[in-house]
Each structure stands twice: as C-alpha cells, then as structure tokens.
C-alpha cells in the first residue's frame, strides 16, 4: 500500500517538474528565438501568462464530444510518456512507472498524442485543422524511421529495452560512441520538437497554426500544457538514450537545456520544408545515416 502511495507522489512530482521546466523552456525558446532575430523578446515566464490567460477565457464552442476528448487524449499521451521515462538512471525517485514498462511502451505511447489530435481536430471541422493533421501524419511516417532505427540499434547493443539500463551502460556517451545513430535520431528529434525545417503541421502562415486552429480558451491552454510536458519528456528520453542520462537535477537540466538550445538554434537558422520535401529528406538522409550507423554498430565492432 505504501509503495503505491510513493508512486503516486512520485508521479505528481514528475508532472509538476515537467510542467514548470517545460514552460520555462518554452519561454526560453521564445526569448532565444527573439535574440536570433535581434529582438528583446518576451520574458521567460511569458508562457505561464499565456497559459493562465487561456485557462480563464470563456468557452463557447461546441463541436461534439470527440472535439473535447481530443486535447484530453493528447494530454494523456504526453503524461503517460513522461511517466514511463525515468529522470535519473540510478534512483528510485522520479522513476515513475518506468519499472513497469520499457522503451517499447514509450514508443507506443508517443503515438497516442497525434491520434487524439487527429480525432479531435477531425470533429472540429476546420479545414485548416484537417490540413494540418494530414501534413502532420504524412510527416510522422518519415519522422519515425531514423529514430526507430537508432533505438533498435541501442536496444540490440545493450541487450535490453530498459531506458535506465541503456542510460547507465554508456562508457562515453552513446552520442560519441555511435555518432551516426545520434545524427540520424537528432534529425527525427528536431522534427518531433516541431522545429524548422520540419514544422509542417502547424505552419503559422500556411495553415494558420494547423491542428490548433479551431481550439480556443481552455482547450488551447490544455494543448500548450501538453506540448510543454511532452517536449520535456522527449528531451529526457533523448538525454537518457544518447547523452548518458542524468544522476541529479542539475545534470538533467544542463543536458536537456544544451540539447534544447541546439534544437532551437537549428530551427532558427533554417526555413521550412514543404511537406513532400520534409518526407523526402527524412526518408533519404537521416534514415540512410541511421541505417549505416546500425550496420556499423552491429557488425563493425
């Protein structure tokens, strides 16, 4: 009984820390992007203000129950992904449910968000939403290939699908031991974080924020929250797989932030691909790099 209570407290702490850090990172993202564009930019806490303002806005929309469930399913997907990824590889605290599920579960749960998104947006009936979802799902197939190949390679190298095991068994970081796998997965990761040049689903001036175009008020606040939490979960996963995991909060924040700044800088430097271009690129270049990395990792050494 005590064990279950501990897990619930653990999950709550994970949720709160991911929420706070995710929103701070999102604020930093806006601020750093502004600096790239020679602006002062909003304060770091701006995302909190936006989120709270949207929570207290009135809601007058009605598009049926699936429209309401869409953001909820996305939030559930983000939260479950977060809960199955351990923050630290050698500690029981902040390990959440990771002892009950491995990398396969995480990869499966990461699909839940786009699914809920597609169903909610479809019920909304906004043509721009449908366009955004179509673009997102088209990109999704290509986006996952290099990441899955890299993950399969890591699992076969470590003979384990447990995230904490993979994070712990890194003499130097996996990013340096298997650079080709890391580069391939990094391209997928940039796409997963919704950064240029792969930000086709929510392209602001093309499809008017795409999937989010029909959501307002509390739905938008829920979407923003899930986006912040999901981003942090993906950062932690990437750090666990390739950057040696973390043993304390300082190390975790340092590593995730370094990765995050790299992704932001990449996004700020490049323009947006068209949807077919992004699929073409992801299927050819990063997938090719990851396949060579996989072959080298298995047969090379």
């Amino acid at each position: 009984m005590v064990e279950y209570e501990m897990i619930v407290i653990d999950l709550f702490l994970m949720l709160v820390s991911a929420y706070v850090v995710g929103f701070l990172y999102y604020g930093l993202y806006r601020n750093i992007t502004a600096r790239f564009q020679r602006r002062i930019g909003p304060p770091v806490t701006q995302s909190f203000y936006d989120s709270i303002k949207f929570w207290v806005k009135e809601e007058t929309l009605s598009h049926g129950w699936m429209f309401y469930l869409g953001p909820v399913i996305m939030m559930a997907g983000a939260l479950m992904t977060l809960f199955f990824i351990p923050f630290f590889y050698q500690s029981d605290a902040f390990s959440g449910l990771s002892r009950y599920g491995n990398l396969f579960v995480v990869l499966y749960l990461m699909m839940l968000g786009p699914l809920g998104n597609a169903m909610g947006v479809g019920a909304g009936g906004s043509p721009f939403g449908a366009m955004g979802v179509t673009r997102g799902l088209t990109r999704l197939f290509a986006m996952e290939l290099p990441f899955y190949i890299a993950v399969i390679a890591l699992m076969s190298i470590n003979h384990s699908a447990d995230i904490a095991t993979i994070a712990a068994h890194q003499e130097s970081y996996n990013a340096f031991s298997y650079p080709l796998l890391f580069i391939g997965a990094l391209f997928s990761f940039i796409a997963m974080m919704g950064q240029s040049p792969f930000d086709v689903p929510g392209a602001p001036v093309e499809v008017y924020s795409g999937p989010a175009s029909e959501f307002s008020g509390k739905f938008l606040a829920l979407l923003m929250s899930q986006s912040a939490i999901f981003s942090f979960a993906k950062l932690v996963l990437m750090v666990n797989l390739f950057l040696g995991g973390a043993s304390g909060f300082a190390e975790l924040l340092l590593k995730t932030f370094a990765l995050f700044v790299f992704v932001i800088a990449f996004g700020a430097l490049y323009g947006r691909f068209k949807t077919p271009q992004s699929v073409d690129f992801l299927v050819k270049v990063p997938t090719g790099i990851a396949v060579v990395g996989l072959l080298l990792a298995i047969y090379g050494g």
């Binding site: 602006r39 930019g41 909003p42 701006q46 936006d50 709270i52 303002k53 009135e58 007058t60 307002s216």
Partner: protein, 205 residues
Amino acid sequence: MEEGFLIQQRQMESDLSSDTSHKSSVDFLMNWFRKRSIFVLAYGTGCGAIEMPPTFTSRYDAERLGIRGAATPRQADVIIVSGYCSYKTLRRIIRTYEQMANPKYVLALGSCTVNGGMYWDSYNTIKKLEDYIPVDMYVSGCMPRPESILEGFLALQKEIAEGKASSWQRYEENYEFYRKNQEKVLGRNVAPAYDADWYLYDGGL
C-alpha cells in the same frame, strides 16, 4: 427596443461612473495575466495593415510587452480593425469578432474608424465603427505609426488591468442596438448561420 441614442447616452454615463470596487483580488490577478498576454488578430481591413509588421517584428518588437499575433480568431484576444471599413469588409469583421472567445477587445486604428476620415462621404464605407461593434481603444491618425499603435496597446493594457475594458459585455448587453445598425447597412443576412448547415447540407462538403 431602446433607441440607439439612449443606449449610447447610457454607455457614456456608465463609463464615467464605472467603479471596480466589487472586483475581488482574484479578478485583479486574472486581469493582470490578461494584460500581460495579448494575442492579436491583425485584421488588415483597409490601409493600416502595413504598419503592423514593423510593430510585431524586430524593429518595434511588441512581443516584449506580451503582445503577439494570433493565427485564428479562436485564439485571439484583440482584433485590430485598421483603416476604412467597407460594407463588404464589415460583414467579415462581425463574423470574425463573434468567433472570438470572451473576454475580447477591439482596437480601432486610424481616423476612418472614428468618424469616417477622408471617406466621410463615401457611399460604401461605414463612418463610425462604434455603431457596429464595440471598440475599446481608438488610435487615431492617418496612418498611425507603430509607436502610436504600441501606445494604444499600452493604454489598452492599462484598461484591461483595471478591469475597465469591457466592450464584449457592452456587445452582449446592447446586442439589439448593434444588430439593428448592422442590419441597416448589410441587410438581414449579417453573417451566415453559426451551425454546421453550410457543410453538412446544402451541397456542402
């Protein structure tokens, strides 16, 4: 239905005597967040749209004040009606304004929204925007520079923080007045019906 003049008179008087003593501290906190985060639907109705890109991009950087563009009316807090406004555009403005979620604010840009400006005797533009949708803040000028727009935003933020910017309540309370004025220039079909008829039936999608 009350006469338009009486309603306008009452609005002027109520603005003078508006007190915020009944507001709780939570309201003030929420108003502060609303003030600090303003999503703008920059509606380029007429000539003023060209002043908005510099306002929102690197030169004047409105984002440092928490003001940023919104992609769709659903996500927006403020709609900017810029410059003259023809009858055709007015229909779109009303449709867009009614799609926005409460609380919502209107920033009217340019002299044409105040009294018709240089289009004072035009046959197909409206003269006073306030007659058709409620306005929170006017920025006069022809055209107002980005500095003026920012100053208008700062004044609007001050009103929001004090809880005085309540044009959406005015619209709901005096809907008949606004609707009558809208119908006067647009006919009975001011905006399409708000159900999904247009796409479920009637040879839609």
